[in-house]
């Protein structure tokens, strides 16, 4: 319980914050190019969305961003003024999965985003222009909206002596050079996906193309929105946060917005009760799998992974890996391809012989690792007891001699 004084202080801070948001939104309203017909209800109905739907979405987004409900109307308003902000989206060494994820956003729908809220000046997967005309769009946007556009980068960036592994445009500029130039004029910079946040799959050992994260290539603050891919909610929510507050969101030590990446997958996992009860899937397809037991022993990396998948899921809350019976592979953590592999073995087992040297642990939460290895021991004890009872077989025990994890 808060004391009366604390409550007053909190209210004071809250109203100060609300005033700041209001003035920020008012500022955006004034920013050119202003639209004369800007009435929220019109906006909503023109995009085939009722005002009620829109407010429902805004409330959901507000919750997703861990903001108090009082912010919902501001979130709605923020979405309305998004078209004031030109967007440049660059594709580097990537698989387009993040763009595909963006395409799945449902409210605002992607067409609403494109037609009514943002001005997507350059996006290779979606733009109509090609070749010289496409490059002209990029040049035009960087020039015309200098200091105002928001830059999104998808993909790792082959850098330095290896920059030639990616060239784009009739002048065959390297991806690295284009990124640097685009970053120089950007108002805010977002690394979308684990590739641009941390290098991604192409940067996994031995990183043949010297692919780097965006933050290693440029000298400006970068908000990392990792995930392979990040959910549609995390991409759109990150933009809204910027519009709403006019500042970059609070981030963790890896540059990830706290509203999305503050908690571990494990913290809010739907199978957490099973973990606490010591009920584990021993092999995919067993009785435990049929009953939704914890996936830790078949390799779930939820305890080491910070993301809101357990809460937001994917594809409009349709599902997420743990619901589909497969452990988390840790895809929003740095170097997860090296650190979290093998994906179907518990990580505590690897603690004393990490596959790629001791550096593997450095990037994860050491306390968590310690606790998990203790848990690992507990699990092993549990497993032995259960085996004695003869109620299950553990293929991992049978394979222990042939386990490929000790590379």
């Amino acid at each position: 319980m808060l004391s009366g004084r604390q409550e007053l202080a909190r209210d004071g801070a809250m109203s100060a914050l609300l005033r700041r948001v209001e003035s920020r939104l008012a500022g955006l309203q004034d920013q050119a190019p202003a639209r004369s017909d800007k009435v929220i209800a019109d906006e909503a109905s023109r995009s085939g969305l009722t005002r009620r739907d829109f407010m429902k979405w805004a409330t959901a987004m507000t919750a997703a961003m861990s903001l108090p409900p009082i912010f919902a109307p501001y979130v709605a308003q923020a979405a309305q003024v998004l078209d004031r902000i030109p967007v440049i989206w660059l594709h580097m060494a990537e698989c387009t999965g993040c763009s595909e994820s963006l395409l799945r956003t449902d409210a605002p729908t992607i067409d609403t985003l494109l037609f009514d809220y943002i001005s997507l000046e350059y996006h290779e997967t979606l733009m109509a222009a090609a070749g010289w005309q496409a490059e002209a769009n990029l040049e035009h946007a960087m020039e015309t909206y200098k200091g105002k556009y928001v830059l999104f980068v998808e993909g790792g960036i082959p850098a330095g002596q290896s920059a030639f592994y990616l060239t784009i445009g009739p002048q065959a500029h390297t991806g690295e050079a284009i990124t640097k130039k685009a970053a120089a004029g950007a108002a805010a910079i977002f690394a979308i996906g684990s590739c641009s946040s941390f290098g991604g799959v192409q940067a996994a050992k031995p990183n043949p193309t010297n692919a780097q994260s965006l933050s290693k290539v440029i000298n400006k603050p970068v908000i990392n929105v990792p995930g392979c891919p990040p959910s549609e909610k995390n991409i759109v929510g990150t933009v809204l946060h910027y519009v709403l507050f006019g500042t970059l969101p609070a981030v963790d030590r890896l540059g990830r917005p706290k509203w999305a990446y503050e908690f571990r997958i494990h913290d809010l996992c739907e199978r957490r009760g099973r973990f606490d009860a010591g009920e584990f899937v021993e092999r995919f397809g067993d009785d435990g799998a049929k009953k939704g037991y914890c996936l830790y022993k078949v390799g779930c990396k939820g305890p080491y992974t910070y993301n809101n998948c357990s809460r937001e899921k994917f594809n409009q809350h349709t599902s997420w890996p743990i619901q589909a019976g497969h452990g988390c592979i840790g895809c929003s953590e740095p170097d997860f391809w090296d650190v979290m592999a093998p994906f179907e073995e518990p990580r505590a087992d690897n603690l004393f012989g990490p596959p790629f040297g001791s550096g593997a642990d450095a990037t994860a939460d050491k306390v968590g690792i310690f606790l998990l290895s203790v848990t690992g021991v507990a699990i092993a004890t549990h497993a032995v007891l259960t085996t004695i009872e003869g109620s299950f077989r553990n293929p991992k025990d049978e394979q222990d001699n042939s386990s490929p994890s000790d590379k």
Partner: protein, 568 residues
């Protein structure tokens, strides 16, 4: 004879990074053509030394568009190597997910990637919505998203957008180009379907996510089977798939089918659309097990456009070579033996139709894509190959939809060997899945009554070496993954992917790959507005991140390539 070079880079609305250069004569007819992948990632090299059970997760990241294809291929190549028979439930679940991927991928390709090559959106502004609404009934019994009110709303929305003077992703395209042939009303219909398809694709993606956790990059396959047993035991989940399946099928039949028919009618006189097939060898693999005895599509090879004979695929005749690719060795290798090292030789300065640019060295090496060949011949893979192979094999379902389509449009069989044919085949393939894919779910439901197995146990013996492969047909065509396992880890991994076949450069014998051959002979209306090139290349549905290879960089110094960052 004076010639001119046209450079198109980036080719947008594709997955990955692609450049195309062509040489046109004084009549703007394309004399020679070169396709260049401008990105290299090296995933196969990264796979070496890893746990084979992780291969599917990593190969999946080759592509976020055909995301599930490489996941399944990576898992099944390892299963093949280890000799694992997966449970029937797992097979059917994998088919359900593959169906969902096709039903997502093909409409998205047609409307959002390829659609703007056919539809001049700016022309839709002058359409009469009522006339357009009536017109829609000519192509479908029950058209979707084309009521007069709805079309009026779409048109008003486009107008508001254009009036803002801020065209965003639609800016600076080839609007008004001479090879656009839809009437304003037809353009409005497609524009409306462009928007509707954005909505439908979300449902199609959910179909895959129901059993796959998420889309893109699902996560419910494991070596031995599938992990989504709880979803399979849940009748609400199965029902949700069925409902979404019907919703998406409805769009395919009432919009996608109708719009391709409309395109066939409108573009039948357009030379650049009826040509566009230079390599007439086609290869396709069997795919879509829908019950214990049937697969939807057949495997085989057609040579020189001869539909009278379907040859069997002999895996040992598949090779890859790199005479014109940025790798140092040039001789052909079978995928199990493949080994190459990058050797980037850069671009040079040159003149083009649009001004000075960097250009490739077509006599030397010019792309990151290698040249796969079958028995020394280039092959086209993809929906057109799949439809032709199944048609020629006597597959009755395929013959029926193809004959119906040809009958309804008046398009003759030879016209299938074209840019239009490729686009139509992709639609027909989607329609076949929509029409028969429900069988898969019903087979699964029947089996689940008596059998709950979803995963087969197995052991990886570290003292043994294993070798295995996956060969199947995915949205962009025949895909194969080849794996060697030694000491419990991956020793070598090779992916021979659809876009590698189609985007392949010239080989040692001087034979062009399908993209390049498709462009040669095309007459362009205006070399500075290369819509014909973009349209034909898009008809292959390029997926370039898939197509680039690596095996070994050890001990090779890479060519130096310096770019002044300030000159960008």
């Amino acid at each position: 004879m004076s010639t001119q070079r046209v450079v198109v880079d980036p080719i947008t609305r594709i997955e990955g990074h692609l450049r195309v250069e062509v040489i046109v004569d004084q009549d703007n007819v394309i004399q020679d053509a070169f396709a260049t992948s401008t990105l290299w990632r090296g995933i196969e090299l990264i796979l070496k030394g890893r746990d084979p059970r992780d291969a599917g997760f990593m190969t999946q990241r080759i592509c976020g568009v055909c995301t599930y294809s490489h996941y399944k291929a990576g898992i099944e190549a390892v299963e093949n190597a280890l000799g694992i028979e997966i449970p029937y439930n797992a097979t059917l679940t994998r088919t359900l997910m593959a169906q969902a991927l096709f039903m997502h991928d093909h409409p998205v390709h047609f409307y959002h990637l390829h659609g703007l090559d056919w539809c001049d959106i700016t022309q839709a502004l002058s359409a009469d919505p009522r006339k357009a609404s009536d017109l829609a009934f000519r192509y479908a019994d029950l058209p979707i998203a084309t009521g007069a009110d709805e079309l009026t709303a779409v048109q008003r929305r486009l107008k508001t957008f254009v009036d803002k003077g801020h065209l965003g992703p639609f800016a600076n395209a080839y609007w008004g180009h001479k090879t656009y042939h839809f009437t304003p009303e037809q353009n409005l219909i497609v524009a409306s379907h462009y928007l509707k398809a954005l909505e439908v694709q979300r449902n199609a993606a959910q179909m895959l996510a129901l059993f796959g956790a998420k889309q893109p990059h699902p996560q419910s396959l494991t070596v031995g089977g599938v992990t989504c047993i709880m979803d399979l035991q849940n009748p609400a989940r199965l029902g949700e798939y069925l409902t979404k399946f019907e919703e998406v099928s409805d769009f395919i039949n009432r919009a996608y089918y109708a719009d391709v028919k409309m395109a066939a009618e409108a573009f039948i006189g357009e030379g650049s659309v009826l040509a566009g097939c230079g390599v007439k060898n086609f290869m396709a693999a069997k795919e879509f097990q829908i019950n214990r005895s049937e697969t939807l599509f057949d495997s085989g090879i057609i040579l020189d456009g001869d539909l009278g004979k379907v040859h069997e695929i002999n895996e040992s005749k598949i090779t890859e070579e790199a005479t014109h690719a940025w790798y140092s060795d040039n001789q052909p290798f079978h995928p199990y033996e493949g080994q190459t090292s990058p050797n980037f030789t850069g671009y040079r300065d040159g003149d083009t139709a649009n001004g000075k640019a960097k250009i490739i060295d077509e006599k030397g090496k010019y792309t990151w894509v290698k040249a796969p060949r079958y028995d020394g011949k280039p092959m086209e893979v993809g929906p057109l190959a799949q439809i032709l192979v199944s048609y020629a094999s006597g597959n009755e379902r395929v013959q029926k939809v193809v004959n119906d389509f040809l009958g309804e449009t008046g398009v003759p069989v030879p016209a299938l060997f074209s840019t239009l044919g490729r686009t139509a085949a992709r639609m027909l393939q989607t329609k076949l899945i929509a029409d028969h894919g429900k069988t898969t779910l019903m087979s699964l439901v029947e089996n689940l009554k008596v059998d709950q197995e979803t995963c087969a146990p197995y052991v990886i013996d570290t003292n043994k070496t294993y070798r295995g492969r996956y060969i199947g047909d995915v949205p962009r065509g025949m895909l194969s993954h080849w794996v060697n396992i030694k000491g419990g880890v991956i020793e070598n991994y090779q992916c021979v992917v659809p876009t590698t076949w189609n985007a392949s450069p010239k080989d040692a014998a001087g034979q062009h790959g399908p993209y390049e051959a498709a462009l040669i002979g095309t007459k362009m209306a205006d070399p500075t507005q290369p819509l014909e090139i973009v349209r034909t290349i898009h008809s292959f549905d390029p997926c370039l991140a898939c197509a680039v290879h690596v095996i070994d960089t050890q001990g090779n110094s890479l060519a130096e390539y310096k770019v002044d960052p300030l000159s960008c």
